[in-house]
Symmetry: C2
Subunit: 334 residues, 2 copies
């Protein structure tokens, strides 16, 4: 692997001059710079980020931490990657193991040792955040309601969930079941709150039995829906706290011999790619992933540049995506 020293030697300049040239910094004459760049290119010089980082420099690398095995997070990560590349940064991803296993404290340290900053997609809260706070690297979180202690980006879960309930109500549904998410996450709590608020606001059927505990997972959604269907008076529509739960619910509904949407309307949240591809296609609330990714990257870059943006919370709007799983009560498709 060619080093800066070799480039410098061939060019007949000092290492420092080569460094300046390669990093596009002032203090090198046009001619020298061109020559150095030519040589670097020729011998295939690539900066060693470990060394850069070690000597206090920047690596143009951002780290991302998240639970890769949820469809939503994967999508978000890909969007962050695009956003990063768009501003000439590369992205390295650390996938958190299953919930709560091994203190991820040194994971941030790990990334921190090679990256300029880290974006954390919070899988769960409190305990995790505490360990992060010790880290002395720029951090931006996604999916955290309070911008404390890090700047955060989040979709407007509350407004989005209201949209969902409103949509079902507009279709004539008065008895709407809700499948909760993993309530350790603020997003899950916000969506539930919106559901409850709308229910009373619109004079829909109340009752705790209409709220069924899920966990953002497929299986949780399946079981939650089963409980809803077993009610003396089952709902005519179900709002699942995320798309994945909605898929689980769909399976349960069908197993009960009912059809979606003719016998039971269904609406999800997130708009993961799969939602559109399902049959019938899932009506849902879209989170603005590309915008969220860009916002997070921008926040992070600002912090890296030293422009402190402490306690900033960026909330991005969600959007109702009407597809095929929610129709007029007692109605037929179309």
């Amino acid at each position: 692997m060619p080093t800066l020293a070799e480039v410098a030697k061939i060019a007949g300049v000092s290492i420092m001059t080569a460094s300046r040239a390669v990093n596009n910094r002032p203090g090198v004459s046009e001619r020298t710079r061109d020559e150095i760049m030519r040589i670097a290119d020729e011998i295939g010089y690539v900066a060693n980020r470990a060394a850069q980082k070690l000597s206090g420099g920047q690596t143009h690398l951002i780290g991302v931490i998240g639970q890769l095995y949820t469809g939503f997070t994967s999508e978000l990560v890909l969007n962050i990657g695009s956003a990063a590349r768009a501003v000439d940064y590369e992205m390295l991803v650390y996938s958190l193991p299953a919930e709560n296993r091994s203190p991820p404290g040194n994971v941030v340290d790990l990334l921190n040792q090679v990256a300029d900053g880290v974006i954390v997609i919070l899988p769960y809260e409190s305990d995790y955040l505490a360990t992060l706070t010790r880290s002395h690297i720029p951090i931006v979180t996604i999916d955290q309601t309070k911008p404390d202690p890090f700047p955060a980006v989040i979709a407007d879960n509350y407004a989005g969930a209201r949209l969902a309930v409103q949509h079902l109500a507009d279709l004539g549904h008065k008895r709407i079941g809700f499948i909760t998410g993993n309530e350790r996450l603020a997003s899950a709590r916000d969506r539930r709150r919106a559901y409850c608020d709308m229910r009373s606001q619109l004079n829909l059927d109340q009752g705790d039995d209409l709220i069924s505990k899920g966990d953002f997972q497929q299986k949780g959604g399946y079981e939650a829906a089963k409980r809803l269907l077993a009610l003396k008076r089952p709902p005519t529509a179900i709002f699942a706290a995320n798309d994945v739960s909605a898929f689980g619910a769909m399976t349960a509904i069908r197993q009960a011999g009912l059809r979606v949407p003719e016998d039971m309307s269904l609406i999800g949240f997130d708009d993961i790619p799969l939602a559109a591809q399902l049959h019938p296609a899932l009506t849902t609330i879209r989170q603005p992933l590309p915008q969220m990714a860009r916002a997070a990257v921008n926040l992070l870059l600002a912090m890296i540049a030293g422009i402190d943006a402490p306690s900033q919370l960026i909330t991005l709007p969600t959007q109702l995506i009407v597809r095929e799983t929610a129709i007029k009560i007692g109605g037929r498709v179309g």
Copy 2:
């Protein structure tokens, strides 16, 4: 961030002794070691991998390169993560941008600068491999037929695809359509070859029109299936080169007013998690992801340890998973 020097100072030993203790190497008395470990723990010492790597040491970090946005690759990556953690390594992932963009040469360099070795999940071949060869770091590939120039792990695509065709034939299908994968990948070519071989071997209907070009993507599968359905004599069953294509095919079949499996049997390949969750659940060929991941990690560790395993190709068996989308020709479910 506490450094080794601080640990050493507090413990009243040299940096080297602290290093030996922390890395669990011989040459330190039990007592000293315990004391050093205690202190390290207390002040929250975490080894700086950049420095470790720079000074020629090992980081206990493996890198993974792949296109994260395909469901199959994501699954594989998660399995690699588990396999790595099981042997006390951490994993960092680099997600390749869309096909062919930006020479990924320095991506390997990037990982190479912080990791002990890299597992590459080949998204496409040739051009990519060439740039990898320059790298002087242990590399293991997945999904590459020739173990050249790197050791490789691969599922037995040929045998698996034979299983699929055999299954359909056993169910009485004589006219079986095939949706190809992205044939830049060896796995796609192997599956196609198996389909063709079995077709003649079992005296099934031949004809190039039964082979429809796909690309391993949902949309490609959708369009390929459409062409198959538009044939004067459409097939009674379709074998899609992977699950994702099969999903696309299912949409096309339904849009044509046909039912799966009553009017059209369907079989996929990979057995991604979604396959089981679909409705009806997809009959498919399972790739042994956990085993593949373990094999790749083991190969890599062997190389890191200096036990060269050049030109080794590990082929793992695939398995038919019977679910609901393939039934007897003209038959009814059950």
